[in-house]
Amino acid sequence: MAETIVPQEHEVAHHFDDLEQEFQSHRMGMWLFLASEIMMFGALLVGGFILMYRFPGAFAEGRAHLDWRLGTINTFFLLTSGYTMALAAMHGQRGNQSAVRRNLWLSLLFAAGFLVVKFFEYSAKFHHGTLPGKYFTAAGFSDPHAHVFFGFYFVATGLHVLHVLIGMGLMVWCLFVSRKVKFTRAYITPVEMSGLYWALIDLVWFILFPLLYLVG
């Protein structure tokens, strides 16, 4: 039974000398992984900027069809869940297992809120036919390349949503870990790593949000 498991202190893996070496290795590994993620999103954004440069009209027109208020709500959700993830790490360091879990649940809740808003945004686009490429059926656009904006919109936000889902998966994993492993000042690695990953999702959104919803 889950209740009977008493969280144990973490043991250093056999190939590391001490906690410090293990923790710093994990942090560096995570940063390198994030670096590759940033290159991936970054290259996509380079593509987006070049498209915007080539089709400014299409981008201005497409942007006017996105609802900045929904984008604002989602920005709030992401910022708050990032804050609660950091709080989870802080409580982990203080050894407060239940506060860690509470903050992980809160982060999950705000992340889910983000997805709900996204769902409404996407369904509105399906309704209006503002879809990528040859599926673009919306009337009333004057720029012949308006479909390019929505193509980029769906690819960029789609990839971002995929990362939100992975990030939520990591939070759920942390919840499982919190039953088995006792977090201490010396060991919060799962929460710390998930927090780093979640912060990346914030970072990407800081660029996507103004690029798609605001500038122009």
């Binding site: 056999h14 590994g29 390198l32 290259a43 193509g151």
Partner: protein, 533 residues
């Protein structure tokens, strides 16, 4: 685990097929990479062998033109994504990196086996694509041809995407290991040059491969959703696709060749019994190549319709790549000078590398010249240049490295005579195959053509004969190794008298956690005793 088990060699520590598949031991993972890569090298080589036979005559031989397109695509995809890119890091790097650092394992053993699974997954998808039609886009997947919704191409794109992640995770693991897992006393300038090379490779794997990943994703999305980023019919820009592709694939050329630099540095130092000349220059030139490698991707697009401004910048920057490469070649040559050179099998491969890489590098500079490239672009000259680097340099160094570390990996000595015969055959075969292609290309013979002009027939025939010799040499080399597993003499701990940790401190074959106690490093990797003249 008992102390007794920790002290027996890794091949015997845990028995059973399943224990190999789920192992997190970097040495076993390295061996599994090695076996997989040899398998795909034979597969990719078979494709090349078949279409080389077809090219014996300028008209249709025994296959249709569609089959021909399919075969050279498969050859390219398999050789690039399944053989040369994962090759040296996956097989030799995995096996040796922790031992050369004096560590028990890589920083992330589970991630390491994950990259092998991803490799196998990608390989399976690549093979699966064979059942879905004929991939015929070439390994470069250029738009708009790759947007024709050929299911085999789509599966191939997915396979390459997965293989990319395998490569990223390997690079990440290596970088962290080199930073965090060095034994006491193993300072940065006591690292073997193979480790420096893997470090530079890791940087490129982590920073360039994600761009390939997003390119392939965009190609898939473009195929299904038609978003209009690459497809000219929708307002997209096919040259953008080439920018994306080559932003990865030029660094990929260095992902391919830089590990070979590392292997060759080890071989030359060991078999000259001399401190390597210009250690720091070789080490830093690997890192310099990494940086410069990110600045020159546009030289693949000189005649694609790129702007004249970009073309000029890229041509100018391309010349800089020659500097670090030349530094290395000069340093290796100087190391040979007055060394007590032993012409063992691995050394024969190292010397071949020097010869082939010089040709491969210099032809690259020729191709970087704008006006000359307009003539040579998409000719056999390019094919030959690329093969001098990828096959003549990387694979040759790889085979040399396998021979060099074979005793350490398996505990068996190979037959030196047959090893040398194989090496000589490979050298002759390779150069016969590809040197004529330089001549043929400079006369304007285009690559990837199924029907070619009669005047090029003699070159094609010489090249085909060369391939037969090459295949003979490669199989000699392979069988020599395999036979040694049964009949080879037991290898001593340090048969070559080398100075790096895997020879001086680790048993042959190494124990489960590499060392019975963590080595303390007190000298550099090439501190050979100075002999009195």
């Amino acid at each position: 685990m008992s102390a007794h088990q920790e002290n027996i060699n890794y091949l015997k520590a845990r028995k059973g097929f399943l224990n190999w598949i789920v192992t997190v031991d970097h040495k076993r993972i390295g061996l599994m990479y090695l076996a997989s890569i040899i398998f795909f090298f034979i597969a990719g080589g078979t494709y090349a062998f078949l279409f080389r036979m077809e090219l014996w005559s300028p008209l249709q031989g025994f296959m249709t033109s569609d089959t021909y397109n399919h075969l050279f695509t498969m050859h390219g995809v398999i050789m690039v994504f399944l053989v040369v890119v994962p090759g040296i890091p996956g097989a030799l790097g995995n096996f040796l990196l922790p031992i050369q650092l004096g560590a028990k394992d890589l920083a992330f053993p589970k991630l390491n086996i994950t990259s092998l699974y991803l490799y196998w997954g990608g390989a399976t998808l690549a093979l699966f694509s064979l059942t879905q039609g004929r991939a015929d886009s070439g390994w470069t997947f250029y738009a708009p041809y790759s947007l024709s919704q050929n299911p085999a191409v789509l599966w191939m794109l997915t396979a390459a995407f997965i293989l990319g992640f395998s490569s990223i995770l390997t690079g990440l693991n290596f970088i962290v290991t080199i930073h965090k897992m060095r034994a006491p006393g193993m300072t940065w300038f006591r690292l073997p040059l193979f480790v420096w090379a893997l470090y530079a490779t890791g940087i490129m794997q982590v920073f360039a491969t994600p761009v390939l990943a997003i390119t392939l994703v965009l190609l898939l999305v473009e195929n299904f959703l038609h978003i209009g980023i690459f497809d000219p019919a929708l307002g997209g820009d096919p040259i953008m696709m080439q920018h994306f592709f080559w932003f990865y694939s030029h660094p990929a050329v260095y992902i391919i060749v830089v590990p070979a630099f590392g292997v060759v540095s080890e071989l030359i130092a060991t078999f000259s019994r001399k401190t390597i000349f210009g250690y720091k220059f070789i080490a830093f030139s690997s890192v310099a190549i990494t940086i410069i490698g990110f600045l020159v991707w546009g030289h693949h697009m000189f005649v694609a319709g790129q702007s004249d401004v970009a073309v000029t910048i890229f041509s100018f920057l391309t010349f800089f790549t020659a500097v670090p490469s030349a530094i290395k070649v000069f340093n290796w040559t100087t190391t040979l000078y007055q060394g007590s050179i032993k012409l063992t099998t691995p050394m024969l491969y190292a010397l071949q590398f020097l010869f082939n890489f010089t040709i491969g590098g210099l032809t690259g500079i020729i191709l970087g010249i704008l006006s000359v490239d307009i003539h040579l672009h998409d000719t056999y000259f390019v094919v030959s240049h690329f093969h001098y680097v990828a096959m003549g340099s990387t694979m040759i160094a790889f085979i040399g490295g396998i021979y060099y570390w074979w005793p350490k990996m398996t505990g068996k000595m190979f037959n030196e005579t047959w090893g040398r015969i194989g090496a000589v055959l490979v050298f002759i075969g390779f150069n016969v195959t590809f040197f004529v292609q330089l001549i043929m290309g400079s006369q304007g013979s285009p690559r990837r053509y199924y029907h070619y002009l009669d005047q090029f027939q003699i070159y094609h025939q010489i090249s085909t004969v060369g391939v037969v010799i090459l295949a003979l040499g490669l199989f000699t080399a392979l069988f020599n190794l395999l036979i040694s597993l049964r009949t080879g003499a037991t290898a001593p701990q340090n048969p070559w008298g080398a100075r790096t940790l895997e020879w001086t401190h680790a048993a042959t074959p190494p124990v489960l956690y590499n060392f019975t106690e963590t080595p303390i490093v007190t000298e550099g990797p090439y501190d050979y005793p100075v002999e009195k003249v």
